[in-house]
């Protein structure tokens, strides 16, 4: 009895495998998309020294009571420079943008900011990348939106595009209610 459909087995197998391959190719899944498990969780407790003399420390306590956009950047990172104008515009429009200067020498970061504009309400220095690991960083730039209760609501592992900026603005507006 089983002989008859054993005949179709190779075809069935090919269809099954083809289905898997087709799904992997067409479903828009990227093998290096590692996801953002911090979304929905309380932002990691960090406490970073300020970049500017006389500036304020960047601590987890800052995130209570106000929606914050936290951006990891470095002067050696070209994509950071590309997304930077979007952050400058957000800050100009009244969003609270904070920076973490990732593995960057202050003497490199300061002229970079002087040249491109400094949108950051405060900047913490993460010289050795420890805060990066706390935030599950895989590179720079990455951007987080943290709500009034200190919970991460958005994590973008890429340089911001104008669409991303739009999305962040809408989300911040929503969360600020």
């Amino acid at each position: 009895m089983s002989n008859r459909w054993l005949f179709a087995l190779p075809l069935l197998m090919a269809l099954l495998l083809g289905g898997f391959f087709g799904y992997a190719l067409l479903a828009g899944r990227s093998p290096d998309d590692i996801g953002s498990p911090l979304v929905g969780k309380t932002a990691p407790a960090i406490d970073l020294a300020p970049l500017h003399e006389g500036g304020k420390r960047l601590t987890a306590a800052d995130w209570k009571g106000q929606v914050s956009v936290v951006n990891f950047f470095a002067s050696w990172c070209a994509p950071c420079q590309v997304e930077h104008p979007l952050l400058v515009r957000m800050a100009r429009d009244g969003l609270r943008v904070q920076g973490v200067n990732y593995k960057n020498k202050p003497e490199d970061a300061k002229p970079w900011l002087a040249r491109l504009g400094d949108p950051y309400e405060r900047i913490g220095v993460d010289a050795d990348g420890k805060a990066g690991v706390e935030f599950g960083l895989s590179g720079v730039p990455e951007t987080f939106v943290i709500d009034k209760s200190g919970v991460v609501r958005l994590h973008l592992r890429r340089p911001l595009t104008p669409d991303d900026a739009q999305r962040i603005r809408a989300l911040v507006k929503e969360l600020a209610k």
Binding site: D32, V133, G136
Partner: protein
């Protein structure tokens, strides 16, 4: 031990005198000897480790635990390398985070949970066993069982065929066979 063997072999080669008298032969022998020595020295090269000396913990037991954990954590920028093998900056940071947490007294499971909370299941080189991965873990064994069952049934059927008594020819068939054999015999003559 390996080191000693290789070194002594290299020494034997180095002191071995060329037995040929010709100048050219001596020179080519020297070149060959040099090549062999270099090849043998290449055997001495230890595999490069990603873990750098300044990362290593003084406490041997903690360091061993850190190495064991790192070997199971996937580097987030290099797809299929553990952070123990990877030279990527972020892998180095993650190794350091593991050592920091172990030094602070975290258990191995707590350290893995720390990384998993930040980087997701992606960082586990050994995927966890949960409903999303049942097919992944069980698919192979299931397929094997299915194949074994098919093979077993096939073998049983064949055994049954062999065991069944051969059916004798009917009278008509025997007459036909005899006729054919006779024709054959006649044709050959």
């Amino acid at each position: 031990m390996t080191l000693g063997v290789v070194l002594s072999a290299a020494k034997d080669l180095a002191v071995g005198r060329p037995h040929a008298s010709g100048h050219n032969t001596a020179r080519s022998f020297a070149a060959l000897r040099m090549t062999l020595i270099l090849l043998l020295l290449a055997l001495l090269a230890a595999p490069a480790f990603a873990v750098e000396p300044d990362e290593v913990l003084a406490d041997k037991a903690l360091e061993l635990r850190a190495r064991a954990i790192s070997a199971e954590i996937r580097c987030v920028v290099c797809q299929n390398q553990s952070i123990d093998d990877s030279n990527a900056e972020i892998a180095r940071d993650m190794r350091r985070a593991i050592r920091d947490r172990l030094t602070k007294g975290d258990s191995d499971a707590a350290v893995v949970a720390f990384l998993r909370a930040r980087y997701g299941d992606y960082v586990l080189l050994r995927p966890p066993f949960d409903p999303r991965t049942w097919l992944l873990w069980l698919g192979g064994p299931l397929l094997l069982l299915l194949a074994a069952r098919l093979l077993y049934r096939g073998a049983k059927r064949r055994a049954a065929q062999v065991k069944a008594p051969p059916v004798d020819l009917s009278a008509a068939e025997r007459r036909r066979l005899d006729a054919l054999l006779r024709d054959d015999e006649a044709g050959r003559r």
